[in-house]
């Protein structure tokens, strides 16, 4: 007995008409989900450089403190006093318990201001810090 292979009646083609729509949806998805958080930095600073630097894996956890070369301190979009850091950081830590504070401090700063900020952070219980530094070549 001879078997005859049955041929499917349908076309063996994937319809490509909706392909551009799918690609556009992909494009739009990536455009929407990409978070670009830009903050205007009001202080001037140059970061120090170091050899043993590590990347911060989770960008969403980071909260920045800038210290300019004139000694001004900026958090978010405001210039703040040293004494205010505790309450600001405490509030941030309540929202985000495992916040990492990235200290972007000018290389020419004095340790006095750094110590003051650190004491404030300790009081606010924001203990994970990161001294922002560039890769030393």
């Amino acid at each position: 007995m001879k078997f005859q292979k049955k041929q499917a009646q349908t076309k063996q083609q994937i319809p490509t008409a909706s392909m551009p729509d799918m690609i556009f949806i992909l494009l739009i998805f990536f455009m929407v989900t990409t978070v670009m958080k830009e903050q205007t930095i009001k202080v001037k600073f140059t970061l120090p450089s170091a050899k043993q630097i590590e990347k911060i894996d989770n960008k969403r956890l980071i909260s920045y403190i800038w210290v300019g070369r004139d000694g001004r301190i900026q958090i978010d979009d405001n210039i703040v006093y040293v004494g205010d850091i505790q309450s600001i950081m405490y509030r941030k830590r309540k929202e985000l318990p495992n916040v990492i504070v990235s200290l972007r401090i000018d290389r020419g700063s004095k340790m006095g201001i750094v110590t003051d900020i650190q004491q404030q952070l300790r009081k606010a219980d924001a203990l994970r810090i990161n001294y922002s530094a560039l890769q030393k070549i």
Partner: protein, 168 residues
Amino acid sequence: MIRKPKRGGAEIPSASMADIAFLMLIFFLVTTTFDVDTGIGLVLPPHIEEAELVKIKKENLANVLVNKEGQVLLDGDLVVISQIKEILKSKIRENDKLIISVKTDRETSYEIYIAVMDELKENYYELREEFSRQKFGIGLTQLTKVQLREVREAIPQRISLAEPEKTF
């Protein structure tokens, strides 16, 4: 009267649309860069009242003092910043409970402080690398997460920031 030639239906060929969209997608994927934050990570000691300050045995403590001129005093000896790593490495090999305590002057430059912290970090990195090569035969970068955790537990980073002196 001249009859206008009959025009065909005006259509834009849309077959290559997908390709164009793909190109756009790939272009944006490639050109988007996320500036990664890099730096020296540290966990601050929690804030405690003066009364409950923990006393650490003197032999388990390595004092690093940095003065305002940028000179470094390591356990009473004046050293160059680039020497710190080697000295601490031999100290930690002798005593694995060693805690490094860093203290700076208010006038010390931040850049020097970072250089010192970098040395401390490098010291731990090299010790871990050594441990990893001995135990697993491969470098730190090739370890699995479980192995890395083991290395971290075997050689924990014990960097402590000394309480600043009360100046005000």
